[in-house]
Subunit: 345 residues, 2 copies
C-alpha cells in the first residue's frame, strides 16, 4: 500500500507541506482561497488519499472504535454491532471488529490489539461471569482494560461492569435492567398462568443469566407463587436444545401445564426446537418465554413471548452516542404463552 503523499501534493501545488495539510485535512487556519484551490487540484490530480495511520500518529487519535462480541453471526450481537456501527459512522469513526467466543483470554488479546491500534474507545458486549474457571482470564482481561483506561482509553461495557476492574475511571457501563424486566415478565405471566414455572438458565455465575433468574423469582414471589425450578445449561441455542429432552420428560410427567422461562431468546428457540420432535407443542402442552426480542423472532413460530431490549440503542450507547435514550425494555406477550382455547374451556 503506497500512494501519493502530502508532500508530493504540496510540491505539485507549489506550496509548503504545512499549507497543504491545512487545506486538505482540516485545520483552524484556513489558507487563502486561490492557494487552497491550487492544492485541491493537485491532490485531485495525484489521487491523494491521506494516510490515516500517519495522521493518527501525529494527532495521537486514531478515529477507531473497537468492538468485542462473542459471535458476530449471533443475532443478539449483530444487532448491537449495527448500533455501534451507526454511532461510529455518526462520529466519523470506523469499527474494528473482534469475535472471541466469549473466552476471556481472547478478549484480553483483542483489547491488547485495540490498544496497540490506539482505538479511541472499546465496546465490549457479551456477559461477564464470575465462574471459577474464568477467574484467571477475568483478572488478565481486567488488567488489560485497566491499563488501556489508564492510558486514556474509553471502555463501553454492555450490561455488567467488568469483573475485577480496579477503577471506574474510563469505564462507561450501559445498564440493562435485566432483573426488573425479568420480574415484570414473571408478574405478567403469573397473571394468566396457573401452573408451575421452570427456568432454563445459563451457567451459574454468568451475570446476565443470574440477574434474570433472580428477577424472575422475585416477580413470582411478589405474585405469591412458589419459586421456579432451575435447569442450567449453555447460554446459547445449543444449550436450550440440550435441555429439551429433560424438559419434555418433565412436561409429559406433569399433569398441569408448565411455563418455561428461558433466560434468552436463542435458548428459548433451542428449547422449542428440541421439544418439537418429542411431540411437545407450544403453547398446547407447555408455554415458553424468552428474553431480548432478537430480530429473528419476527419469523419464529409460535410467536415467542419475550422482553424487548433495544439492542441497537444499547450498541449506540456503548459506543458513546449522547443522543440515544437510556435503555428501557418492555414485556411482549405473544402466542407462545397464550393459554389455548381448548384448555381454557
Amino acid at each position: 500500500m503506497a500512494a501519493s503523499t502530502l508532500s508530493e501534493v504540496a510540491r505539485l501545488a507549489g506550496v509548503s507541506l504545512a499549507t497543504a495539510s491545512r487545506v486538505l485535512n482540516g485545520s483552524s487556519r484556513k489558507p487563502a482561497e486561490d492557494i487552497a484551490e491550487r492544492v485541491r487540484e493537485a491532490a485531485d490530480k495525484l489521487g491523494y488519499v491521506p494516510n490515516a495511520q500517519a495522521q493518527a500518529l501525529a494527532k495521537s487519535s486514531s478515529g477507531l472504535i473497537g468492538l468485542i462480541v462473542h459471535d458476530i453471526a449471533d443475532p443478539y450481537f449483530s444487532a448491537i454491532a449495527r448500533g455501534v456501527q451507526e454511532a461510529a459512522r455518526q462520529q466519523n469513526r470506523m469499527v474494528l471488529l473482534a469475535s472471541t467466543s466469549g473466552a476471556a483470554q481472547d478478549e484480553k488479546e483483542a483489547v491488547a490489539a485495540f490498544a496497540a491500534r490506539r482505538a479511541d474507545s472499546i465496546v465490549i458486549a457479551g456477559s461477564r461471569s464470575v465462574r471459577a474457571e474464568d477467574k484467571q482470564g477475568n483478572i488478565e482481561l481486567a488488567a488489560e482494560l485497566d491499563r488501556y483506561c489508564r492510558n486514556g482509553g474509553h471502555v463501553g461495557v454492555v450490561g455488567h461492569p467488568v469483573v475485577g476492574a480496579s477503577t471506574t475511571e474510563g469505564y462507561h457501563v450501559v445498564e440493562v435492567p435485566n432483573e426488573e424486566l425479568a420480574a415484570d415478565l414473571a408478574a405478567e405471566l403469573a397473571a394468566t398462568h396457573e401452573g408451575e414455572f421452570l427456568i432454563v438458565a445459563g451457567p451459574e455465575g454468568l451475570y446476565t443469566s443470574d440477574d434474570r433468574v433472580r428477577g424472575f423469582q422475585r416477580g413470582l414471589a411478589d405474585a405469591g407463587r412458589p419459586a421456579a425450578g432451575i435447569i442450567r445449561t449453555g447460554f446459547n441455542r445449543a444449550g436450550g436444545y440440550d435441555a429439551g429432552p429433560a424438559l419434555a420428560e418433565r412436561i409429559k410427567a406433569s399433569k398441569e401445564r408448565l411455563c418455561i422461562f428461558a433466560v434468552n431468546d436463542v435458548m428459548a428457540i433451542g428449547v422449542t426446537a428440541a421439544l418439537r420432535p418429542e411431540g411437545v407443542w407450544i403453547p398446547r402442552d407447555a408455554t415458553i418465554a424468552g428474553f431480548d426480542d432478537i430480530e429473528t423472532l419476527r419469523d419464529f413460530r409460535p410467536a415467542l413471548s419475550t422482553v424487548h431490549l433495544p439492542l441497537e440503542d444499547i450498541g449506540r450507547l456503548a459506543a458513546g452516542d449522547p443522543d440515544t435514550a437510556p435503555v428501557s425494555g418492555a414485556v411482549k406477550l405473544r402466542r407462545s404463552t397464550e393459554t389455548p382455547v381448548e384448555v381454557q374451556a
Copy 2:
C-alpha cells in the same frame, strides 16, 4: 491514548531503541538472551503496548482488512462476516467494518476510508447492480477501488466482479455458481411439482438476482416446463413481504398449486410471513423455495427448501484464505416444497 513508548523501554533497559525494537517486535536479528530478557522486563514493568499505527507507518503494512456489507445484522452478511473475521484472525489481522445499506456512494466512501487506513485488503460483499440509477455510484466506486488496487491494494469481491472496474489487477472474485445452482433447484423442483412456477425476484439489474432467475428458467426449460412468471420487488425480507398480497391473490385464483421461487431466503421468509395472515399455508396451498441457506432457517417453519451456500467459506475465501475449498452449493429440499399427503392422495 498515550502510552509508554519503545524509547522509554529502551532507556529503562539501558539499551538502544534499535535493540529494544528487535527484541520486542520481531526481527531477523536476535539480540543476546540476557539483553533480551532485560528489555522484556522493562517492557513488562512499563506496560508497553507497541503502537501499531507507528509500526504500520514504518513498515507500510497495516495488518488491517476492510469489510463492506449492506447490513451487519442481516444473517447473510453476518455469516460472511464471521468467515472474514476467522480468516483475519488466522492471518493475524484485524477486521475493519463498514455497513453501507448497499448504496454505492457509501461503499465508495468506505473504500476511501479503508484506503486511508492503508488496509492490506478489502472484502466487498453484497451484490453489484447495473441499474441505471446506480450507474454514477458504480463508476465512482469502481474508480476508488481501481485507485486502491493501483496503489497495491487487494480486493476480494463476493459473487460478481465490480461493475466498471478498468482492470482485474488486484481483484479476487469469489465465484458463486448462482446460475447453475438455481438451475439445479429448478430441475429438482420440476421433478415433483406438476403445476406452475413463479419467481419472486429482486430489481432487474441486480446481478445475483438476475443470475438466479436466469438459472431457474433454464432449469425449467431443460425439464420441458414453461418459463415462470416473475414478480419484482426488493431484494430483502421487506421486499418478499410486500409481494405477499399479490401472491396470495394469484394463489387463490389458481386451481393448481403454485411453486414459488424467491431468489433469496430472507425474501422467501418475507413472502411466507405475508402469506400467513392471508390464510395461505405453505406447503398446503403453495410451495416455496429460497436461496442461501442462512442459519436462521434452522428454526423457521415450515422448513424452507433452499440452496445451501457455504457463507462462512465465502467470507474466508474473499479474505484470501488459501486453505478454503472453492464455493460449491447444494440443493436442499425441505418441507416447504413437499407435496402434502392429502393432495397426493
